[in-house]
C-alpha cells in the first residue's frame, strides 16, 4: 500500500484550517461561526493524525479524541450562549454583540 506523504495530509489540514478561519471571518451568523470553528478544530485533529501516522504513534489519534471531546463541550456551551443571545437580540448576527467597544 502506497503511503500518502505527510505533506499532503498537512496541506489538506492546512487548507481545511484556512477554510474554517475564513468562515469565522466572513460569517456573521454565530451558528456558522461556531461551525467554522469546528472545522478549524477538526483540521487540527487531522494534522495530529497525519503527524501520528508519520511517526507511527497512537499519540496523534489520542489527541484527536481530546479535541473531539473539547469541541463537543465547546459547542454545547456555545449553543447555550447563542440561545441566550438570540433571546435577547432576536438575531444571530455576531455584529449585534458590539455593545462594548472603545
Amino acid at each position: 500500500m502506497a503511503t500518502v506523504p505527510m505533506e499532503y495530509g498537512l496541506i489538506l489540514a492546512g487548507v481545511l484550517f484556512a477554510l474554517g478561519l475564513i468562515g469565522v471571518l466572513v460569517r456573521r451568523n454565530i451558528i456558522f461561526i461556531l461551525m467554522s470553528i469546528e472545522i478549524m478544530l477538526n483540521s487540527a485533529g487531522l494534522a495530529f493524525i497525519v503527524a501520528g501516522y508519520r511517526w507511527a504513534q497512537p499519540d496523534g489519534q489520542v489527541m484527536y479524541f481530546f479535541i473531539l471531546a473539547m469541541a463537543a463541550t465547546e459547542v454545547s456551551v456555545g449553543l447555550a450562549l447563542t440561545l441566550m443571545f438570540y433571546n435577547r437580540h432576536k438575531t444571530l448576527d455576531s455584529d449585534a454583540a458590539g455593545r462594548m467597544n472603545g
Binding site: M6, L10, A13, F17, G20, L21, V24, I30, I33, L34, I37, M40, L41, S43, A44, G45, A47, F48, V50, A51, G52, R54, W55, Q57, D59, G60, V62, M63, F66, I67, M70, T73, E74, V77, G78, L81, T82, M84, F85, R88, S94, A97, G98, R99, M100, N101, G102
Partner: protein, 479 residues
C-alpha cells in the same frame, strides 16, 4: 502510576475532587444549598489543596507520567493559583451574595478553572497543556457569561468563546506541526531535538508560531489582545480578576517552563517575534488606556501592557529572569486582585461599579477603600512602597542583565505613559465632589481580603527579601 505518583498528584486530585464535592452537595440538597455553603466548600477545597502542596513539596521534583511534572516550580505556581482562587472565591461571595440563586454552579466552574490552571503549570507535555487550557477556557466561557441578566456578560461570553476556540485551534494546529516535526509532544523531548539547528525547518517554525498565537491570545498580547477590554468589562468583576491573574499567570508559567527548556534566544526569528509582540503590547496597552473612563477596561488595557513588561523579563532568560517573572507575577496577582476586589466590593446588584464617575470623590466617602485602591493603582504604576515597584525593578534588572536595551527603554517610556491613566484615576478618587451617597458597606470577608492584599502589597514593596528567597529556592529547579 504508582502510589508515589498519586501522592505528589494530591493537590491536583484534591482540586479535581472539590468541584465534584460541591456538585454532589448541591445534588443532595436538591438545589437548596445555601450560597455560603458552596463558598465554604470551595474555600475548604482550595485550602486543602494548598495544604497538600506543602505536604508533597518535599517529594518534588517528580515526573508523573510524561504529562505532569511536579517540581518545586509547579508547586510554587499552584500555590499562587490556589491562593488567588481563594481570594477570588471570597470576592465572588461578596459579589454574588444577595443576588438570586444558590450559585453553586459558579463555584464549580471556578474550581474547575483553577484545576485547569493547576494542570497547566505542572504540564510537561502538549496533551496536558491542551487539557489544562481547555478545562480552564471552557469553565471561563460560562463564568464570563454567568450573570444571565446582564447583556454585557452574555456578549463577553460569546466573544471570548469564539475567539478562544479559534485560538485554541491555532494552538492545536501548531502542536500538530511540532509533533509532525519531532515525533514527540514532551517538552523535554522537543527541547532535546530542537537543540539541533538542522531541525529548524519552516514546519517547526510555523508550528511554534501557531502555539505562540494560542498562548498569546490567552495572555492578551498584541495583536491577539482585542477581546480583553470587552471581556473584562462584561464579565463579573471577580471573574475578570480571575482572568487577569490566574488564567494569565498559569499560561505564562507554562510558557516560561517551555522556553526555559528551549532556549528562545538561540532561535532568532522567534525572539524577534516576541520582541515585537512585547513592544507592541506595551505601547498598545498603555496608549489605549489613556482616556478610558471605564475602570475595568483600563485594567484590561493595563494588563496588556503588563504582560508586555513581563515579556521583557521573559526574553532576558536565565535564572534572574525566572525570578523576575515570578516576583512580578506575585506582585501583579496581589495588585490586580486588589484592584478588581475594590470594584467587586463597590459593585451594586444591578451592575458593576466600573465608570470613573463612580469613583470620583471616593476618598471623602470611603477613605480606607480609596486608600487601598490608590495603593493598588500605584503598584500597577510601579511606585515605591508597593509590590509593583520591586516587580518593575526586577523586570528592568533582568532586562539590563541581558542587555535588552531597546526593550528596557521602551519599558521605561511606557511606564511613564501608563502613569497618566493611573494617576487620572487616583486624582478622581480624591477629587472634591459634593454630597454623594455613601457606597455600600464593605462585607467582613471582603474587608479582610482587601486588608490582607494591601498588607501583602506593602510587604512585597518594602521588604521583598523573604519572597525572593522563596522564589529562588522554588524556581531553582527549573534551570
Amino acid at each position: 502510576m504508582n502510589a508515589g505518583d498519586f501522592f505528589v498528584l494530591l493537590p491536583v486530585l484534591v482540586m479535581a475532587a472539590a468541584p465534584v464535592v460541591v456538585m454532589m452537595t448541591a445534588a443532595f440538597t436538591k438545589g437548596r444549598m445555601r450560597h455560603a455553603t458552596a463558598v465554604l466548600l470551595s474555600l475548604a477545597g482550595l485550602a486543602i489543596a494548598f495544604a497538600m502542596l506543602l505536604v508533597v513539596s518535599p517529594a518534588a521534583p517528580r515526573q508523573v507520567t510524561p504529562l505532569i511534572i511536579l517540581d518545586s516550580y509547579a508547586v510554587f505556581y499552584m500555590g499562587l493559583i490556589f491562593a488567588s482562587s481563594f481570594v477570588v472565591t471570597i470576592l465572588s461571595y461578596s459579589y454574588l451574595e444577595g443576588r438570586d440563586g444558590s450559585h453553586h454552579e459558579y463555584y464549580i466552574l471556578l474550581l474547575l478553572a483553577t484545576l485547569g490552571s493547576a494542570v497547566l503549570v505542572a504540564g510537561s507535555h502538549f496533551a496536558s497543556f491542551f487539557l489544562g487550557l481547555e478545562i480552564l477556557s471552557i469553565s471561563l466561557y460560562s463564568l464570563i457569561a454567568y450573570v444571565r441578566v446582564s447583556e454585557r456578560s452574555n456578549e463577553a461570553g460569546i466573544k471570548y468563546l469564539v475567539l478562544a476556540a479559534a485560538s485554541s485551534s491555532f494552538l492545536l494546529f501548531g502542536m500538530a506541526l511540532v509533533y509532525a516535526q519531532f515525533g514527540t509532544m514532551e517538552f523535554a523531548g522537543i527541547a532535546r531535538k530542537s537543540a539541533d539547528a538542522a531541525a529548524h525547518t519552516p514546519l517547526l517554525s510555523a508550528g511554534l508560531v501557531m502555539i505562540i498565537i494560542g498562548a498569546g491570545f490567552k495572555l492578551a498580547l498584541v495583536p491577539f489582545h482585542m477581546w480583553t477590554p470587552d471581556v473584562y468589562e462584561g464579565a463579573p468583576a471577580p471573574v475578570s480578576a480571575f482572568i487577569a491573574s490566574v488564567s494569565k499567570g498559569a499560561m505564562f508559567a507554562l510558557l516560561l517552563r517551555y522556553f526555559t527548556l528551549v532556549d528562545i534566544r538561540a532561535y532568532g526569528p522567534l525572539f524577534m517575534i516576541f520582541t515585537v509582540i512585547a513592544i507592541a503590547s506595551m505601547f498598545t496597552g498603555n496608549l489605549l488606556a489613556l482616556f478610558q473612563n471605564n475602570i475595568k477596561r483600563v485594567l484590561a488595557y493595563s494588563s496588556i501592557a503588563h504582560l508586555g513588561y513581563l515579556l521583557v523579563a521573559f526574553l532576558a532568560g536565565g535564572a534572574l529572569a525566572i525570578t523576575a517573572v515570578s516576583y512580578y507575577l506575585i506582585s501583579y496577582f496581589v495588585t490586580i486582585l486588589g484592584a478588581f476586589g475594590i470594584i467587586t466590593v463597590l459593585s451594586g446588584k444591578e451592575r458593576d461599579a466600573d465608570t470613573l464617575e463612580e469613583y470620583r470623590g471616593l476618598a471623602l466617602r470611603r477613605p480606607w477603600i480609596a486608600g487601598v485602591f490608590t495603593a493598588m493603582l500605584l503598584s500597577l504604576a510601579g511606585i515605591p512602597l508597593t509590590a509593583g515597584f520591586i516587580g518593575k525593578f526586577y523586570v528592568v534588572t533582568a532586562g539590563v542583565g541581558s542587555a535588552l536595551w531597546l526593550l528596557v527603554i521602551v519599558l521605561a517610556v511606557n511606564s511613564a505613559i501608563s502613569l497618566f491613566y493611573y494617576l487620572r484615576i487616583v486624582v478622581a478618587l480624591y477629587a472634591h465632589t459634593a454630597g454623594e451617597e455613601a457606597a455600600p458597606r464593605l462585607s467582613l470577608a471582603g474587608g479582610i481580603v482587601m486588608a490582607v492584599l494591601t498588607l501583602l502589597l506593602l510587604w512585597l514593596g518594602v521588604y521583598p527579601s523573604p519572597f525572593i528567597r522563596i522564589i529562588q529556592t522554588t524556581v531553582a529547579g527549573l534551570v
